[in-house]
């Protein structure tokens, strides 16, 4: 299965600390994406990293990709209470034009003020 698996399942930190979430997958990918979901809402795209990239930054977010280990990490620096949400990685592979994304079960992040 292509499914990404996030680790840990739940993470609780204090405001200002860094939060690191990991994602592992099983087969080749074209790219990997991270999404955020507030409770009961749709998913919001955070960042995309292509299979030939190793690191990408966006604001307080830093994503790494190690295709040899089939893993990715999402680092949120200087966390805020508003970062409390579930975070999902999605692996994307293409055998059709639709480029189906396969999501893991997510990491639930709680940032305490």
């Amino acid at each position: 299965s292509q499914q990404g698996e996030e680790d840990p399942q739940a993470l609780s930190i204090q405001e200002g600390e860094n939060a690191t979430m990991n994602c592992s997958y099983k087969t080749s990918i074209n790219n990997l994406q991270w999404y955020r979901q507030n409770s009961g809402r749709g998913l919001v795209h955070l960042i995309l990293i292509r299979s030939n990239e190793r690191e990408k930054h966006s604001g307080r977010l830093r994503v790494t990709l190690d295709t040899s280990k089939k893993s990715s990490s999402l680092l949120i620096t200087a966390s805020r209470a508003a970062d409390t949400a579930s975070y999902f990685c999605a692996t994307v592979y293409y055998n059709t034009n639709a480029g189906k994304s396969t999501f893991g079960d997510g990491t639930t992040l709680t940032v305490k003020p």
């Binding site: 749709g42 998913l43 795209h45 995309l48 639709a98 480029g99 999501f103 079960d105």
Partner: protein
């Protein structure tokens, strides 16, 4: 800019009743369209995707069907709901044709089958 709308936001339906969830995308043409289901505390399961009008691919056998009557309209249906159909349903779109495209999600529809 592009927007995606899905409705209804919440729905409580009895077992055996029909279902219709609708989704429309604005501001783009020929998008790829998706229906996902999310169980409580879990990730997303892809149910259907479509690369064009009338072109539907099903990912998992189930009690549901999808249709794409217009370029930017995607409908999820069931003739007779089961209790196991309860969940959070998300419509999504991505730009068609090229690879590595971001998926944009609607706000979701909560379905409770009673």
């Amino acid at each position: 800019s592009q927007t995606i709308h899905q409705w209804p936001a919440t729905l409580v339906q009895p077992v055996g009743s029909p279902l219709s969830l609708e989704c429309t995308v604005e501001g783009t043409s020929n998008p790829n369209l998706y229906w996902y289901r999310q169980a409580a505390g879990r990730g997303l399961q892809l149910l259907f995707y479509s690369v064009g009008i009338g072109q539907i691919s099903s990912e998992v056998p189930q009690n549901l069907s999808a249709s794409r009557p217009q370029d930017r309209q995607f409908i999820l249906s069931s003739k007779k709901l089961l209790l196991s159909d309860s969940g959070f349903y998300l419509c999504a779109w991505s730009r068609g044709g090229s690879s590595g495209n971001t998926i944009y999600f609607g706000e979701g529809s909560w379905l409770t089958v009673v």
